[in-house]
């Protein structure tokens, strides 16, 4: 697939990268239709995040179409159009169950 990659401070490039794979039972693979730039992308782009490496794929606020689902996915199926929340939440810990998802 094609991806927008960070190539260095204030440098990006569109590259062909390996296709993503389902790694966990709850994973979904999406064909991204639209993505946007977040304020935090500016920190990544400017090289302020020490663990950022050249080649890292940018874009964490996006929407698209489901093309593959893991065996434990119940709420979505292939073909669904979805918007992705950039916070990953487990749904099971004390914070999630008290609706403090970003903790």
């Amino acid at each position: 697939v094609k991806a927008l990659c960070w190539a260095g401070v204030n440098e990006t490039s569109v590259e062909t990268v390996d296709d993503p794979k389902i790694l966990n039972d709850h994973d979904i693979i999406l064909r991204v239709k639209l993505s946007t730039t977040c304020g935090s992308d500016l920190h990544l782009l400017g090289g302020y995040i020490p663990t950022m490496r050249a080649g890292d794929v940018l874009g964490h606020e996006f929407m698209g179409e489901v093309v593959e689902v893991g065996p434990a996915v119940r709420n979505h199926q292939v073909g669904d159009r979805v918007v992705v929340c950039s916070f990953v939440a487990c749904g099971q810990c004390w914070y999630c169950q008290n609706q403090l998802f970003s903790l």
């Binding site: 991806a3 990268v17 020490p50 663990t51 890292d56 794929v57 487990c90 810990c93």
Partner: protein, 164 residues
Amino acid sequence: VSSPVSRVTQAGVNAAGHLAREIQRRLGGDATQAGDTEPRSRWRSVTINRSAEEVMPAGRVPEPLAALGDRIEVRVRTAPGGKGTELAARLRQSEPAGLGSVSSRVSGDDPRQKVRSALREAKQLIEVGEVLRVDPVPHGTRTATPTGKLVEVATRRAGGEGLL
């Protein structure tokens, strides 16, 4: 008679020595309890959003902590604030110290790292039912740089005592 400067210096040295002992005591934990001469590491714990019975059904130590067998002691107690259960473990050996401590952390063969990752994985398995994998992620062209190497090493090692 010591000069004011040397007295201040001496006070500083004493304070630094006290601080170092205090840090050592805290890092070393309650390894030297009265009546217990066997060395122990300090307790490490995670809070799990489940009852004690769900964390250790019939007193069984959860996986993958159970795989550490007799090398560790495990305890559970109710977490404050209605947050579930605290699951804690400590090694039946003293806390590695000095240079050996640093080298075992860097080499990735460190008993403390085994305890910490087993505790985190036990929490994930009990609460969510799986240990989330994030690697490998697709990426574009990488150039080999010294800082990139450092990040790679840190990422490989970080799993033992935290996540990067």
